[in-house]
C-alpha cells in the first residue's frame, strides 16, 4: 500500500516546499521497496550491474589486446588461454566483447538520452502551448511514427557515414552517427506520453494553485508539472535503452554499423555469421550478451512500471 505521506505530498507539493522535499524522499524509498518486490526486475538489475562493471572494469583486469592476430589459434573453442574462444584471425573474443560491450551500452544510454530529451521537450511544448502549436507538433510526430525505422536508419547511416568519419575520426564519427540517428528516430512515443501527461496535469488543482499564486508558465512546467510526469518517462527511458542497443546491434549485424576494429556485440555477430558451422561459440557469446542485456533492461522497466505507479496496489 502507498503510505499516506506519499499520496499527501503529491497533492500539497507545490504549496509546501518542506513537505515536498520530505515527500519525494519517502516516495523514492517507497518506489525502491516496490521495485525490490518484483523479483525478476531485481535479478535483471543485478545482471545489468554485473555487465556494466564487467565492461567498464574488465579491460583493466583482463589485459589481453583486442586486435592481437594469432593465426595459430584461429577459430578455437573456449579454453583456459581464451575463455570465450577466438575468431577467424585468432583474436581473443573475451577481450573484444568486453571492449565492444562498452560501446554497445554507451550507444544505448546516449541514444536514450537524446530520444528522451527531444521527446520530453516536444511533448512538453505541445502539451503546454496547446492550439495550433500542439496540432503542428503532433502531426509532425505522427509523420515520424509512420516512417519505416530500419530502412531509414540504414539510409541515414549510408549517406552520412563518410562525412562524419572525416569530420570526427572513425570511432567518434560512427558513434555520433549511431546515437543521433537512433535517438532521432525514437523520440515520438515519449513526446506523445509527455504531452498526454501535460494535458491532464495542467488542469489539476495543484497546478492551478501555482498559477493562482502567480507562477510563471516556465516555473509551472519545471517545478510542478514535469516532476509529476517523470514516472512514465523513466519507464520509457529504460525500455528505450534496450531498443537503442537492439537498433545498434541490428545495424552492425547488417554490416552498416561500426567498422570491424570497433567490435560491438552486433559487429562480432556480423563477422561470426558466416562461420556458424565450425565456430558456433563466436556467434553464441555476443548474441547471448545482447539478449541478456535487453532482457534485463526490459525486466527492470517492468519492475519500474510497477514501482512508479502509485495507483497500483501491491501487497
Amino acid at each position: 500500500m502507498t503510505p499516506p505521506n506519499g499520496v499527501a505530498s503529491e497533492a500539497v507539493s507545490p504549496a509546501v516546499a518542506r513537505a515536498r522535499v520530505r515527500g519525494t524522499t519517502s516516495m523514492r524509498s517507497e518506489a525502491w521497496r516496490r521495485f525490490r518486490k518484483h523479483r525478476l526486475a531485481s535479478v535483471g538489475a543485478a545482471i545489468l550491474v554485473v555487465m556494466v562493471i564487467a565492461v567498464v572494469a574488465g579491460p583493466f583486469v583482463y589485459r589481453v589486446p583486442i586486435d592481437e592476430i594469432d593465426f595459430k589459434a584461429k577459430l578455437k573453442a573456449p579454453s583456459w588461454a581464451h575463455p570465450l574462444g577466438t575468431d577467424d584471425l585468432g583474436q581473443d573474443l573475451l577481450a573484444r566483447m568486453l571492449y565492444g560491450g562498452r560501446i554497445s551500452l554507451a550507444v544505448g544510454v546516449v541514444a536514450m538520452l537524446i530520444a528522451i530529451t527531444a521527446g520530453t521537450m516536444i511533448g512538453a511544448i505541445a502539451g503546454q502551448m496547446g492550439g495550433s502549436v500542439d496540432h503542428v507538433l503532433m502531426r509532425f510526430t505522427d509523420l515520424f511514427l509512420s516512417l519505416p525505422q530500419l530502412p531509414l536508419l540504414l539510409l541515414l547511416a549510408y549517406l552520412f557515414r563518410d562525412a562524419l568519419k572525416k569530420a570526427l575520426g572513425p570511432e567518434m564519427g560512427v558513434f555520433m552517427l549511431m546515437v543521433v540517428v537512433i535517438g532521432g528516430l525514437r523520440w515520438m512515443p515519449v513526446a506523445r506520453l509527455v504531452r498526454a501527461q501535460f494535458l491532464s496535469l495542467r488542469e489539476k488543482e495543484f497546478v492551478e494553485a501555482a498559477r493562482g499564486l502567480g507562477a510563471a508558465p516556465l516555473r509551472q512546467v519545471i517545478r510542478h508539472i514535469l516532476p509529476n510526469a517523470v514516472g512514465p518517462v523513466i519507464v520509457a527511458a529504460t525500455i528505450d535503452v534496450a531498443a537503442a542497443i537492439l537498433a545498434e546491434s541490428s545495424l552492425s549485424f547488417l554490416g552498416l554499423g561500426f567498422p570491424p576494429d570497433i567490435p560491438t556485440w552486433g559487429r562480432i555477430l556480423f563477422d561470426a555469421k558466416d562461420n556458424l558451422d565450425f565456430a558456433p561459440h563466436w556467434a553464441i557469446f555476443p548474441g547471448t550478451a545482447i539478449f541478456l542485456t535487453v532482457l534485463s533492461i526490459n525486466y527492470i522497466g517492468d519492475g519500474l512500471r510497477d514501482a512508479l505507479d502509485p495507483r497500483k496496489v501491491l501487497s
Binding site: D142, L143, L145, S146, L147, P148, Q149, L150, P151, L152, L154, L155, L156, Y158, L159, F160, D162, A163, A242, L246, S249, S250, F253, L254, G255, L256, G266, L269, K273, L276, D277, P280, A283, I284, G287, T288, I290, F291, V294, L295, N298, Y299, D302
Partner: protein, 319 residues
C-alpha cells in the same frame, strides 16, 4: 462506409507526400554524389559528367527536383538501377511478392500463437500456464531476431541438418516437390519473424483480456446463462481485440525491421535484402524506391488497422 474509405485514402496522400519529403530532404542534405564514381574514373572526361548531371537534372534547385521526383514516383516511373541497369519498378516487383509472403505468413503465425495463448493465460491469471506463457513472451520479445535466426540455423540446419538455411528462388523441381521444398526453406524465416511477433502480441492480448474479463457485462453475460464459450469468444475477445489492434498497428513499422534482418540472415530474395545489397553498392535510386515502398506499406497497413477497428467496434461510426 465507401465514403469513409475514400476520405481515409485521400488522407494517405499528404502523409505519403510528407514521408517522401523527409526522404528527399535526407538525400538532398547528404554529402555524397551519385556521380562520384564517374568523377574518380579517369576515362570519363569532366564535360561528359557535367552533361550527365544536366541531363538528369541534378543541377536544378532542390524544390524542382523534389516535385519532379515525386510526380514521376506517382506515375510509376522509378528510374533505373545504377548497378543492375534495369528498371527499379521491375526490380522491386520481382522481389516484393516474396517479402509480402514471408511477412504475411509470419504475421498469421504470430496471431495463431498469440490469440489462444494470450486468451487462455488471461482466463487463468497467475496459474502455472500463465506464468510460463508470460515468461516465454517476455523472453521472446527480448530476443533480437538476428540472434534467434542464428540459433535456429545452428540448431535446425547445422546440428540436426533438417532444414536448408539458404533460401533459393530457383528450385529445380515441379509439382508437389516444389511446394515441399519451398515450405521447408520458408519455415525458418517465417518462424523467426512470427515467433517474435507472437511474443509481443501475446502480451497485448493477455493484458487486454485481463482488463475486459473484469467488467460487469461479462458477469451479465454469464448470469443470463450464456455458455462460457460464447461469453469469452463473442463478448470478451471481440472487445479485448480493440486495443490489441491499436498496439499491433503501432508496431507495423517495426515489423519491417524484422523483415529486413530475417531476409538478410536467410538470404531470402525479398526487398529487404535488396535494400542491403543496394546500400552496399551505392545504388541510390533503388534505395530511395525501397524506402518509399516500405513507407507506403506502413501507411497501407495502418489503413487496414483502421478498417479493422470499425469491424470490431460498431460504436466507431464511419462518418
Amino acid at each position: 462506409m465507401s465514403k469513409y474509405l475514400l476520405r481515409r485514402v485521400l488522407i494517405m496522400i499528404p502523409v505519403l507526400a510528407g514521408i517522401s519529403l523527409v526522404l528527399f530532404t535526407v538525400l538532398a542534405l547528404a554529402p555524397g554524389d551519385p556521380f562520384e564514381e564517374l568523377a574518380t574514373n579517369p576515362n570519363v572526361p569532366p564535360e561528359v559528367r557535367a552533361n550527365l548531371r544536366h541531363q538528369f537534372g541534378l543541377d536544378d534547385p532542390i524544390p524542382i527536383r523534389y516535385a519532379r521526383w515525386f510526380t514521376s514516383m506517382l506515375k510509376g516511373d522509378w528510374g533505373f538501377s545504377f548497378v543492375s541497369r534495369i528498371n527499379v519498378g521491375t526490380l522491386i516487383m520481382q522481389r516484393l511478392p516474396t517479402t509480402l509472403w514471408v511477412l504475411g505468413l509470419a504475421q498469421s503465425l504470430g496471431l495463431l500463437v498469440a490469440l489462444p495463448v494470450g486468451i487462455y493465460a488471461a482466463l487463468r491469471p497467475y496459474s502455472l500456464f500463465d506464468q510460463i506463457a508470460t515468461t516465454f513472451a517476455f523472453v521472446g520479445f527480448s530476443l533480437p531476431t538476428f540472434f534467434t535466426g542464428i540459433l535456429f540455423i545452428l540448431f535446425f540446419s547445422i546440428y540436426l541438418d533438417w532444414l536448408p538455411f539458404i533460401y533459393r528462388a530457383d528450385i529445380g523441381a515441379t509439382g508437389w516437390r516444389w511446394y515441399w521444398e519451398n515450405a521447408r526453406q520458408a519455415l525458418m524465416p517465417v518462424a523467426v519473424l512470427g515467433l517474435a511477433q507472437g511474443a509481443s502480441m501475446t502480451r497485448f492480448v493477455r493484458s487486454a483480456m485481463l482488463e475486459v474479463t473484469r467488467l460487469d457485462y461479462i458477469n451479465t453475460a454469464r448470469a443470463k446463462g450464456l455458455t462460457e464459450k460464447v461469453t469469452i469468444l463473442k463478448h470478451a475477445v471481440r472487445n479485448a481485440l480493440i486495443p490489441v489492434v491499436t498496439l499491433v498497428a503501432l508496431q507495423i513499422p517495426g515489423i519491417f525491421t524484422g523483415a529486413v534482418i530475417t531476409e538478410q540472415i536467410f538470404r531470402v530474395p525479398g526487398i529487404g535484402s535488396l535494400l542491403i545489397t543496394s546500400i552496399l553498392a551505392n545504388d541510390t535510386p533503388v534505395i530511395m524506391a525501397i524506402t518509399f515502398v516500405f513507407s507506403c506499406l506502413v501507411v497501407l497497413f495502418s489503413l487496414v488497422a483502421d478498417l479493422l477497428y470499425g469491424w470490431l467496434d460498431p460504436r466507431i461510426s464511419f462518418r
